[in-house]
Subunit: 190 residues, 2 copies
Amino acid sequence: MPRRPSYNRDDLIERARDVFWQQGWSGTSLKDLERILDLRPGSFYAAFGSKEALYELALDTYAQQGFERLKTLARKIGPLEALKAHPKLVITNKQNAAKACMLAKTFLELHAQKHPLAERASAHLSRMEMLFSELFQQAQAAGEIGAQHKPSGLARRYQSDLLGMRISAERNEFDAQAIAEELSANLTNL
Amino acid sequence: MPRRPSYNRDDLIERARDVFWQQGWSGTSLKDLERILDLRPGSFYAAFGSKEALYELALDTYAQQGFERLKTLARKIGPLEALKAHPKLVITNKQNAAKACMLAKTFLELHAQKHPLAERASAHLSRMEMLFSELFQQAQAAGEIGAQHKPSGLARRYQSDLLGMRISAERNEFDAQAIAEELSANLTNL
């Protein structure tokens, strides 16, 4: 295949997101990035400045897209149905570069080094948890969830279970789909 | 503090386990290991051969100790009580170098590279899941869990939720303890 440089910045960021998501921070070299983005070192630096700056853009893109996808789904099918559909969607989406969550992977890899990207991943996880909480609250207001539940508590547990399921999915997709179905069923009985 | 070389091999492996557990494979340099184990490069190679060989020993030690700890607890307080106590124990044990599971961290970091250590971590996770399954089965045989449940399904979900909780614990121990209590309470109502 002939080398065809791409100048679409968003497309480059998405390609970087996928390789970082799969291979992690340490597992992705500058050489990998230059090859995958089809950029020479000089162009890479001119476009993104550094591997860290590009990872930050990739992480933000990942988080923002996940956030918007769930919000859109909730507008379409309602908050509770969206929360029920979400677990299976995240592990069966063929466009995803990995099953495990990029935010969790980034946090786990870089947290001990106190790397700013770990903090950033954690902040994105918190923002996602707040969205889960809002959706649980809307479902409760609509009478779909018992009044005895605290939306923030439901969101905390939901996110935690999701992160676990996504690790399981990286090991065995079949098992993880069974877990996704249970997570969904659990929300029916609240 | 004066340099005092330690020649206790098990102790060295445990120290290596803790630094690998915290910092991961890529985050731990040979220099780190030589400093923490108080070994010169020559002695390090004589004792362990390579960073990879030492990681393997550290990972096996981690897995074996976790396995034995739960088995011992189950003999002491019974299978269901052990499964109920386990989530809180793993995140509150002050001797643990990190809250997240070393097997999950290793798997997530190295899986995309098809590194043998990722396979090894996954095999340890499977062995642990089988222990969970055995304990659920014993609890069911003792009438503590309804006959409609499949021990292997309970074990799969339990492990997945645990992995998620342990990531959450790395972010916020307080929240994770609330999740641990829920995981425990869920087992009461089976």
